[in-house]
Symmetry: C2
Subunit: 413 residues, 2 copies
């Protein structure tokens, strides 16, 4: 049984070894923020760094800051900072571009590693963009290239000798359901298939061990649980064993062995740097760099334990306090099978979520009927879970979600 | 004859209709900044906006700002703001990713518009990265795809029936030499070839008219004369007549007809929006958005006239004051044939440039022997040209560039 009284939850906050991490964030008054799975909150250090990189490094240092402020190494430095959060070596991760672009880079390059296998395999319920990117690539390449999509349970059977790459997202963005990275990677390898993991909804909140799982490639988002700010640059992981054989499809000076020689001939840089493209987005990278300091001294096992406790309590409280209100839990009940997110289905999920937001409890909605709540253990307190559920109870009881102002559909990411 | 006395130049500043634009920038004390062709100076409005987008929009607004602060439309809104600077319609430009990624997107998609023509044509002296990107693409596609590179003077002869696309940079990054966009585009079209222009070194300082030239595609950089900050997002132009037939090679939810429906099937958005990929880099886009306000009320013809005057005076003064010092002008003497940049060759260009920077006159160096000076007419004064040349004279006269501290080679972009 989980604790569910407000007093008991306040006790948990009091005893929480991560409680002080909340002070590392700048959070608005009167808001319970349960959408860190979509856009992480603002770390105070990130705000300070934004001012410094603009005012001093750009404004005062100007072009000199490429060397003096070491802008040029940001993609690698910040990559090395993310590495321990995902079980990678410091030389296995770089930051830049978006998750989509990184995914495209790796898909296109990985296909060339298995020239006799023209299929990318994924699940039909993978994040739609990941499927769009893969589908766009194979459509552009033409036959025999192909994107094969199957139901989650059919993946093993679909891993045949034509599959070059298995592309999966660790945490389902709708329900929070979690794949077993180690088991699936191992299975794919047995069939001679490479594996690429999208860690967008898991990096920064779950213990991830790409190395132990022997994953080949990974990508992930900088602005969810990594708190890098809206549209933050994304990360790209290539296992060390592939770094010298893989050929980047987008060949660029930043991935050149000697970028400032301005040679006519392209020579890929050693290691993962060959995947760098374009002048680094210095402002965004600097903000992400500072944001990652919120993980200083944080034990990822403690973080994950708190995430599990928060989500368990949320499910228990919702079912206890909202019984009879047609809320159906859409996330796995078994804590090891889900990420730091709980989703409920409700036919009126959209207006109910809008009414919650109006009360300062911010989650989000995904069509057709999913109310999503993300729990970022660095700044979400146990009492927040209680108060969020109480707000939900009040809304369901009063029927205030029926107010016309909550009915309109707006684009929300 | 151009005016070259300091008094005469101060008079020009006094009469300069653009003189007040300098106040729109935050410039360090004691610096003459002649590297706006590499990294533009900091607009005051950009610094203020950076603070607001981080502190208020992200920190306070959190996920709600996607709608409330209209983050979601930044790529199109900022694109429409750049459009008049390059002679494009507001619906012909979007902002996002880097110049390299945008170039890759357009090259890959454009090849599909001419399926019977497998060649991309460019000049050997094009910006190396542009060549790397094209070369990487054709290498990855394999034969018959090919990148053909010829000397500038041989372009016309190389435009045969196998050339799908002519890819050129308007202003040569080394010498500032300018292509005639209208003539070359028209010539290519006569041969059935599409044309893509890289405007990185011309946007924001020269009057550009993509529409009048009937250019098909263009890309360009946000952090040079557009002053968007280090690594600012880049722009991508597709002429309206191609927007419905061209198919994006990187298919992404942001370029989807209904991004928030999360449908399994990809349907490209109408118009240029289909080239959007990844969650917009909100911080960087907001800063670029604010930076572009420095062009408010600026007459591009006046801007260009000042650019021509500054560069003419710089050449005249250097040749007058530095005669006998082995400085050889590398830029075209005819003002209509160059951009807002003057380059000099000198065997000791590297240490001389370092000595200049130590004196607060910031230009840059490109191997093997090019000293580059960029003139951004919005913040460079006529007297700055005089003072910069005087610093150069003093360095050459004293031989201070021989000091060991100026000899070391560092990476400079």
């Amino acid at each position: 049984m989980v604790a569910t009284s407000r007093t008991a939850l306040a006790e948990l906050d009091h005893a929480d070894p991560l409680a002080s991490c909340r002070d590392r964030f700048s959070l608005p008054e009167g808001v319970i923020y349960l959408d860190g799975n979509s856009l992480g909150a603002l770390p105070r250090a990130a705000a300070a760094r934004a001012g410094r990189v603009v005012g001093q490094e750009w404004g005062e240092g100007l072009i000199r800051s490429w060397n003096q402020a070491d802008w040029i190494n940001l993609p690698r430095r910040v990559g090395a900072k993310i590495a321990p959060l995902i079980g990678a070596g410091p030389d296995e991760v770089i930051i830049g571009d978006s998750t989509s672009i990184n995914l495209y880079k790796l898909l296109a390059s990985a296909l060339r590693l298995k020239p006799d296998r023209p299929v990318i395999l994924s699940e039909v319920d993978n994040f739609p963009t990941d499927l769009y990117v893969a589908e766009g690539l194979v459509r552009w390449l033409g036959p025999p290239f192909e994107l094969r999509m199957v139901e989650r349970g059919m993946l093993s059977g679909a891993l045949d000798h034509r599959v070059a790459l298995l592309m999966l997202t660790e945490i389902d963005y709708r329900t929070g359901e979690r794949h077993d990275m180690k088991v699936l990677t191992s299975l794919a390898h047995e069939r001679g298939t490479l594996v690429l993991w999208d860690l967008s909804h898991s990096a920064g909140v779950l213990p991830i061990d790409l190395g132990a799982a022997e994953a080949d490639f990974a990508v992930g988002c900088g602005y969810k649980y990594l708190n890098g700010g809206p549209g933050a640059p994304a990360f790209l992981y290539v296992a060390r064993r592939w770094q010298e054989t893989i050929e980047p499809v987008i060949a660029d000076w930043m991935g050149h062995a000697r970028p400032f020689a301005f040679n006519a001939e392209y020579v890929p840089a050693d290691g993962i740097a060959r995947f760098l493209t374009g002048t680094p987005s210095v402002l965004a990278l600097s903000v992400l760099d500072a944001a990652l300091d919120v993980f200083d001294g944080v034990d990822m096992k403690q973080l994950c334990a708190k995430s599990m406790a928060l989500t368990d309590i949320f499910i228990a409280l919702c079912e206890q306090r909202c019984a009879g209100n047609d809320l159906v839990v859409a996330s796995p009940r078994e804590v090891a099978q889900r990420g730091s997110q709980v989703s409920f289905r409700h036919a009126q999920g959209y207006p109910i979520m809008q009414a919650l937001i109006a009360r300062g409890v911010i989650g989000d909605f995904r069509a057709p009927d999913l109310m999503r709540f993300g729990f970022s253990p660095l700044y979400v307190r146990y009492v927040d879970v209680f108060d969020a559920v109480e707000a939900l109870v009040a809304i369901l009881k009063s029927g205030e979600w029926r107010e016309p102002r909550f009915a309109q559909i707006a684009a929300v990411t």
